[in-house]
Subunit: 697 residues, 2 copies
């Protein structure tokens, strides 16, 4: 669909100048001198010719077809130029010009008219306010970046043009190859989703790397990445992590959620590989592009020095990488192969005087061990070290065995040639062990993600009629929340266990309800005007008999009146008192970009002080729910610490999936907190003691 | 004291070979060709001459004095050679030869005899099994590393020789200068402490950087670093972080402590700057060597592109770096100075087309703002960017203003020359913003450390007689722990509030004690054979009257008998029941290297499941105790969350300092747990409800 952007046969550059340092001219020169073999048409009504070549007054004057137009004219003329492109039936245009949305309301209006023109003519538009695009298979540099990257299989998109130029220069220096580079600019039309889809279908791209500041359409993004990642890795650096903006939220979940939590959850849901720094973005992308994923856990460290191996081992522990436990046959074989002073366990130390051959012998022995799925080869340049020879052996053995192989040849000039040999042989090298392990840990995360089953959302056959009518009722009453009683009914309609409860209009009614439910009971004031019942003393627990019930009823009603003389008091909710248990919170907050974001945590102080919570985008199935539980720091309390029996984790997972289904079925629900969900011992179930539901404005 | 190691006038290399690639010969050639201007004497009885120069059969045959001997002979001959050095009155020797402690018991014996010889002759000994030493002020490369570093003011020691070679090669490539380099080897004599002391007194060294795997003498290390760090930074990378070894511990504190916690606490106590990777070690060292520390908090980011500035801002949040809030005068001045599209708040964006001049103008305006103490200059190489000109301006302005200045000129070839200019002007450059901020955060940590008052340990006038006799009594009884009653008395002797309690030998006695103490009381079985009283039901709480007391007494004694028929049961401890409060744990575990390590945390599940604890080396004063409290994640529970009143933090800090004094005064105490310390509301004090003290084997 975006073929014309990456493999055009002909390109018009509109706004080419005679002056060499103007942006339009740089783009034109980049195309003409950069190896692009298609037609390049300079367009500018004001100059007769560019570098001895005839310039066309308009794209309409260009004799042949134009596959791609690069527009570098002042913002106010861009829409007219684009309109002419439409008449000329140009399928794709890049608007490099700045002066649009990024400058304020006037620019935003110009950008809207640009988009209108594009839509009318069915032109796909990259930019405006961007650096352009580069495609190495077409040898096309349709940007004003001065660096043409080397050919490679990493496609890189950047939402910052300046970061793009810097990265292009840096990747060239590092010998990192790219298939395509796109500067996204203002994303008026073409977005990250279009590029993901295009590059997913592109044979010359094996890894998609992205620097993003925000995504344009959360759902489409998650879908596009999800569709992609089982075939090709998507590695992303997302900036703008600070959630400084104050937001009006009334729920616990809302106060702990926020756009960064939502992005984290979205990347996780989609199976993206997340990088935290620019360096990591490319370390990980290069490793994924050049090396196979390990086929299971089990890294072996092969070194000629102890110190760096210890640093690597430390990093493994920090980054959750498991070292392979070698079979005893392997250790025996190493003993037979290596000098007696060598270390035969993992890390395997071939000693400071190791020739290339000794590295190779050890590698071969290790490769035969079924527990070894990846090798990190560490080399320090000592007196007799043959760095290049070792690199040659490592390249050959990695090819031969198919084992995931990374290298850490340390130093600078003493290992420069060896690192070149490694690079040509497809083995990424890292200057220090810690960076190698950090990169490997990302490969491991991707392996585990691919090995986990694709999550299938659970279908819950709820009773949508109950929910619909409760929501409609609240809306009709002008409320942005569902009353407690209704919220409990909604939960019950989706199979979430709630304690039996009923609204009692007066004391007699309360007696009747209590005797039906059975003592002990809890009583709570029922009033649409009193939201925080416990704050005004509107809740009484542990009511054991009729006498206590009568006393409690009077007190509660009196307190309600005292709090607000004209409050509408419907009576008192009488509810079965749930036996105590461990308390957890399950909540949902609807993210404007990614939709319902489900939170799980331990209740009470754990959520309020320790903020020991975890998030997922909905839908969440039982597997994911179990994983959420295991992610919180206090999981030991649920699994059964201090001699306690384990809690009913299956019942908690069941409620999580039901909440997920409920909020997925009803987009009206903007916030939901079950706080607490009382969790009894394994097999004894759970109860949603308090359910709050918000339905927005 | 080690002058002869770093500034010798004459050096003998013992074991020089005719073959160019032998270690002894490499050392000799490094000295002769590396610029060293003193005398270099080749010593070898087997060769007549080296490179046309007469070789001496022994150091005794060398005509002049020898300040430094470098010994590169087989391990079994090293002691004899050293003995001759002693006769020759050589003050310092480097033994490069391997084959000592690192190879097993035989080598260890050789190493011991080497040390004996050194002690007898008063020779200071570096190594054995090391790479050697390098000193750029003397242009001396007394090592077999092939790289002579550039001159600089960072002194670097490495406990791994191989890491040393790699780092020397790498620093040369990075343009990082060193004053000295020492490979520590087996540390038979000269240790990190000697080097710290020597380099502390060395004018040519401004920063000491160290790669360490373990320190030789914990107390001496902490003292040496503490003496140093207010004058010169000590930056250390300590490897070997995984505490895999299972250790026999019986206390909570012991199970959570461990050598890594002790190292962390020791580095913190000493004021060392800790690096987590080799790259960080040098990033931080270079920044501290070349830039002044900021005079207060307040970093400003000055950039020509938005994307990298956002990444820098994200990193600031991650690493705890505070951005300067600009004065309104500054913003106004920036508005007058910069184009209207620029960003006038922090980060300050001078826009993609910024010439060097514009950077300079903005820098000058920012430097006048009292809230700005440091500047990170970010530059991306865009179409019209003048990287070199900007570098020139930044160098001049940093000098002129004295502001801490770091740079992030991104890219490779487009910024290479500018980075060289920055480097020559003393401005460290980082390829990506995240690394710049991470480095700056280390500078900030050092600034805050220097600003904090030097901790003065609190003197507690305890009653040591009580403690001494309790310990002696337990030892006499062959116990490795103090009984509960005695432990409470020990605590009380150091002013730690414990609830009144007394041992009751029989029921009548229990009645008497309870009426004296006042109900409610707690009763606990008193037996030297029953350590975990609650596990066998040997504790009863909430005893309200004589009747309950009698019932509880019988039950407890019966349970003790049932648990162990022949247990020695002394009776029952009757203790005042402390009203409930928040529970914390204060514990001490004696680290073999660093001595008493004090732990603070919230009690119960917080310590057991969440492991929400923090550590300090003793002594701990009240300021440090307050800082410990604020470090735990659950601090909100003590400060007063959910409408609770704040806890009595002063009383907790008081107990921490008293525990610290107790374990410092009595090295016999190997383990101590106060678990729980019951903490009442502010002003209402604390009670040590349970005190356990271990006195080791």
């Amino acid at each position: 669909m975006l073929d014309a952007l990456f493999s055009p046969r002909s390109i018009a550059v509109v706004g080419v100048s005679r002056e060499k340092d103007k942006v339009g001219r740089i783009v034109y020169d980049n195309l003409v001198t950069g190896g692009f073999t298609g037609e390049v048409y300079p367009v500018n009504p004001m100059v007769g010719s560019i570098d001895g070549r005839e310039a066309y007054p308009s794209v309409l004057d260009v004799p042949g077809d134009i596959d791609l137009a690069v527009i570098v004219v002042p913002a106010r003329f861009a829409a007219d130029v684009l309109d002419e492109c439409g008449t000329k039936r140009v399928p794709v245009a890049i608007v490099i010009s700045a002066g649009f949305k990024e400058t304020g309301p006037q620019g935003a209006a110009l950008e809207r008219s640009l988009v209108d023109v594009a839509r009318r003519h069915d032109i796909r538009l990259l930019g405006p306010n961007c650096l352009g695009a580069i495609s190495t298979p077409s040898e096309m540099n349709a940007s004003f970046a001065l660096t043409m990257p080397r050919p490679g299989t990493i496609a890189f998109m950047s939402q910052s043009g300046a970061l793009g130029t810097a990265v292009l220069d840096w990747t060239a220096g590092q010998g990192i190859g790219l298939s395509h580079f796109v500067s996204l600019g203002n994303k008026a039309d073409i977005s990250e989703v279009d590029l993901i889809r295009a590059w997913a279908a592109d044979d010359r791209t094996s890894v998609i790397a992205a620097y993003l500041e925000a995504v344009s359409d959360g759902a489409a993004f998650v879908e596009a990445v999800s569709d992609l990642v089982r075939e090709k890795p998507f590695v992303a650096l997302k900036s703008g992590g600070s959630d400084a903006g104050a937001r009006a939220v009334s729920s616990h979940t809302g106060s702990l959620a926020g756009s960064e939590r939502a992005y984290d959850a979205a990347f996780l849901k989609a199976g993206a590989t997340r990088a935290r720094t620019v360096e990591e973005l490319f370390d990980i992308s290069v490793a994924l592009a050049r090396q196979p994923l390990p086929e299971g856990p089990g890294l072996v460290i092969l070194t000629n020095a102890g110190g760096p191996a210890i640093l690597a081992t430390d990093a493994c522990e920090r980054d959750g990488v498991s070292l392979a436990a070698l079979e005893s046959e392997t250790v025996t074989a190493l003993r037979e192969t290596l000098p007696t002073a060598a270390a035969f366990y993992n890390p395997v130390d071939v000693l400071g005087d190791a020739p290339a051959r000794r590295y190779a012998d050890a590698y071969r022995v290790l490769a035969a061990d079924p527990n070894v799925r990846a090798v990190l080869v560490i080399l320090t340049p000592q007196a007799t070290t043959d760095a290049v020879g070792t690199a040659d052996e490592v390249v050959a053995l990695a090819r031969e065995t198919g084992l995931t192989t990374l290298a850490c040849f340390m130093g600078e000039s003493a290992v420069a040639e060896a690192i070149r040999v490694l690079g040509e042989g497809g083995i990424p090298n890292y200057p220090f062990p810690e960076r190698a392990i950090r990169t490997f840990s990302a490969m491991e995360r991707r392996r585990r993600m691919l090995e986990a089953p694709v999550p299938v959302p659970r279908r819950i056959e709820g009773d949508p009629g109950v929910v619909r009518s409760a929501i409609d009722h609240a809306r009709a009453a002008g409320r942005t929340f569902i009353t407690e009683q209704s919220a409990a009914r909604i939960a019950a309609a989706y199979g979430i266990p709630v304690p039996p409860a009923e609204l009692a209009r007066d004391l007699d009614d309360a007696r009747r309800v209590a005797s039906e439910i059975g003592y002990p009971v809890v009583m709570k004031i029922a009033s649409p005007d009193i939201l925080h019942k416990s704050d005004i003393g509107g809740i009484r627990t542990g009511i054991e008999d009729e006498h206590a019930l009568a006393e409690a009823y009077e007190t509660i009603i009196a307190r309600g009146r005292a709090y607000m003389a004209d409050a509408r008091i419907w009576g008192v909710t009488v509810q079965q008192q749930v036996p105590p248990g461990r308390e957890v919170i399950i909540g949902v907050n609807r993210d404007p970009q990614f939709g319902p974001l489900l939170m799980f945590g331990l209740g009470g102080i754990y959520v309020e002080v320790l903020k020991d919570v975890t998030f997922r985008l909905c839908p969440v199935n039982a597997d994911e729910a179990r994983r959420m539980m295991s992610e919180i720091r206090g999981f030991g309390l649920l699994r059964g610490a201090r001699g306690q029996r384990p809690a009913d984790l299956d019942a908690v997972a069941d409620v999580i999936t039901r909440v997920s289904a409920l909020v997925t079925d009803f987009p009206d629900i903007t916030e939901l907190d079950i706080n607490p969900l009382i969790v009894h011992d394994k097999g004894d179930g759970v109860f949603a003691a308090d359910v709050r539901i918000g339905i927005g404005g």
